[in-house]
């Protein structure tokens, strides 16, 4: 499903601030697998996720997602690929704070040429699945951290992507809400979704539903269990 071949990502290339966030990583993740990228802050987990999620392009190497070499794709195709295959849950959720929960979940559907009714059905489904029904009229900024995370997951799922990427999803949650999140991920895994989570929370990488834990340090893979 996901294949990285000798992938390197350099930020601020050619400037004094140049930093190699990911350094020559090769990795394969199968369809339906739940993988955790583990490592301390600055180890390159988030960068690796953004490369898999087509939010950025590698400086060197190849990223193949759903059979497509996304590192060679032009912007419009990359956007299309992202839209059709990837759902991303950001660490800070990145919801638009001043609009409603409903509108936040709708956002990925706007460019899809769907009818209002189809969109409504999808959002209702996501609201139900994430147990946030009744909160749809709230503005995102008025929700608790756990609720915001659910909205972020609902937004990632509303297009029914094959791949779910989550960046430090439990960083701002208590143990109870973290377990809730993992339950949701288990459910998605059962649906056949491929899940990649970047986290340094033991609760996540020790979770029984996780198939593989990949350890990173200084932009490199240092272990796999």
């Amino acid at each position: 499903m996901i294949e990285l071949k000798d992938v390197t990502k350099v930020y601020y290339k050619g400037t004094p601030k140049e930093v190699k966030a990911v350094d020559g990583i090769s990795l394969e993740i199968a369809k339906g697998e739940m993988v955790v990228l583990k490592g301390p802050s600055g180890s390159g987990k988030t960068t690796l996720l953004t490369l898999i999620g087509c939010l950025s392009r590698p400086t060197r190497g190849r990223v193949l997602v759903a059979g497509k070499d996304t590192s060679r794709l032009q912007e419009p195709f990359l956007t299309f690929h992202r839209r059709m295959h990837v759902g991303f849950v950001f660490q800070q959720y990145h919801l638009i704070p001043d609009i409603s929960v409903y509108e936040n979940i709708l956002l990925p559907l706007y460019p899809l040429d769907m009818t209002s009714q189809e969109m409504e059905e999808r959002v209702e489904d996501a609201l139900r699945k994430l147990r946030i029904k009744g909160k749809e009229a709230y503005r995102a900024k008025d929700l608790s951290g756990g609720e915001q995370q659910r909205v972020a997951i609902a937004r990632a799922l509303v297009t029914d992507p094959e791949i779910i990427l989550a960046d430090e999803p439990t960083a701002n949650l208590d143990t109870h809400l973290s377990r809730d999140f993992l339950k949701i991920m288990d459910g998605l895994k059962e649906e056949g979704k491929t899940i990649v989570i970047a986290s340094h929370d033991p609760l996540v990488y020790e979770h029984k539903g996780v198939d593989r834990v990949i350890e990173m340090r200084d932009g490199r893979l240092v272990g796999c269990s």
């Binding site: 956007t79 638009i96 956002l107 990925p108 969109m119």
Partner: protein, 394 residues
């Protein structure tokens, strides 16, 4: 189905506009003010030029004046015969008129004497004045609204003017011109030729000038030259010269006002440009999020285009409507003194409502188009960068 996408993006644009009420409202107000100022100048100049052109429409093709010692003097009416002999001349009318300074109101009146044919022709140009209510002769006169107001006169009222020999002459107001003809009639008194002669002591065989009408308008210049040859010591002024002087005066003045406005407009433009083009960190991040969620560059540009267009178009319409009301219904208070300047007419000064589509388009083109484009440039820059970098602010 593509229609659905546009509909959803438009709907999100409107939500977006409402989310940034403060910023958008300030841009809206600045733009409305800018369009209002530009629109006011454009409307005023074009309406006043139009009024001037309408005024000159019925004017004689050539006006012959007697020049003595370099100054305009009375012209003998016997000259009419000599002018009539020139081939191509259809009509020659001796005109008696003059200016009267009214001490108590500190204003100048224009007094025109008319009889028979000339009065008919004049009435045709002022169609809203019906003949039944406006007879002239034997001391009965028509007066402009400005005179009526400054002297507190109504129809049927009486007033006095000082004759050139110091004696008093009484007049009765038989009609007051409507405000719609202000440019032509605000300071005007129309009376019979006999009354003008008595007031200004103009001898019977003289007039102020001769109005000459020509059959073929192509021959006006040739005929004017011939008049100069037949009547040495006279000056033949052709209508085109008068039109040009009007245009020069208004063109020069409006240019002056535009230049004076330029500083203000430029300051507004810089401020608006800055507001429009400067994306806040939040806005940049939002673009990154939308891209991460699968929005195409064109979707984001479309959304921002609708935002920019909504603000600039509503500001444009509001500014144009306000300018229109200001110029045509509120006496052009802000721009009239600067552009009019020349006037012996006393304000208020109402112009006939008139809108030139080309000029409105020009104001549209120099306000809405640059603003809309300006809003798209930074958005395009942000939306072409990888979403990861935009979100992280790299």
């Amino acid at each position: 189905m593509s229609k659905e996408r546009h509909k959803h993006i438009l709907s999100f644009s409107i939500t977006s506009l409402l989310r940034r009420k403060g910023k958008n409202l300030s841009i809206f107000l600045i733009y409305t003010l800018m369009v209002f100022l530009l629109g006011s100048v454009v409307f005023f100049v074009s309406a006043i030029k139009r009024e001037a052109a309408t005024t000159l429409k019925g004017a004689p093709d050539i006006v012959v004046q007697q020049i003595r010692a370099g100054r305009h003097d009375l012209i003998p009416t016997e000259y009419m015969e000599k002018v009539r002999t020139i081939r191509g001349v259809t009509k020659v009318i001796p005109r008696v008129w003059g200016y009267y300074f009214d001490g108590p109101t500190q204003s100048n009146y224009t007094i025109i004497g008319m009889d028979g044919e000339s009065y008919e022709a004049f009435r045709d140009r002022i169609p809203f004045l019906s003949p039944e209510e406006a007879p002239i002769g034997n001391g009965k006169v028509l007066i402009g609204k400005g005179i009526a107001r400054s002297r507190g006169l109504k129809r049927g009222g009486h007033f006095y003017l000082l004759r050139s020999d110091g004696g008093l002459k009484t007049f009765e107001v038989s009609g007051i011109f409507s405000g719609r003809s202000s440019l032509l009639t605000h300071d005007l008194i129309v009376m019979s030729e006999k009354d003008v002669r008595e007031l200004f002591l103009i001898p019977a065989r003289y007039s102020i000038d001769l109005a000459v009408y020509v059959r073929n308008k192509e021959e006006i210049e040739t005929i004017a030259r011939k008049i100069g040859e037949v009547l040495p010591g006279t000056r033949a002024v052709i209508k085109e010269q008068i039109t040009k002087s009007y245009e020069t005066v208004f063109g020069w003045r409006s240019g002056l006002v535009f230049t004076a406005l330029l500083g203000t407009v430029l300051a507004f433009a810089i401020l608006s440009w800055d507001k429009a083009t400067g994306l806040s960190a939040d806005e940049r991040k939002e673009i990154g999020i939308l891209k991460a969620l699968g929005w195409r560059i064109e979707d984001i540009l479309e959304m921002k285009f609708w935002e920019g267009l909504t603000i600039s178009l509503t500001a444009f319409l509001a500014g144009i409507i306000l300018a229109y009301i200001h110029i045509f219904f509120f006496g052009s208070y802000l721009v009239a003194p600067a552009i009019k300047g020349w006037s012996v007419l006393y304000p208020p000064f109402n112009l006939n409502p008139y809108m030139d589509a080309g000029e409105v388009f020009m104001v549209f083109f120099i306000t809405v188009v640059p603003y809309t484009v300006a809003t798209l440039i930074p958005v395009w820059r942000s939306s072409t960068i990888d979403p990861d970098e935009v979100i992280r602010g790299i």
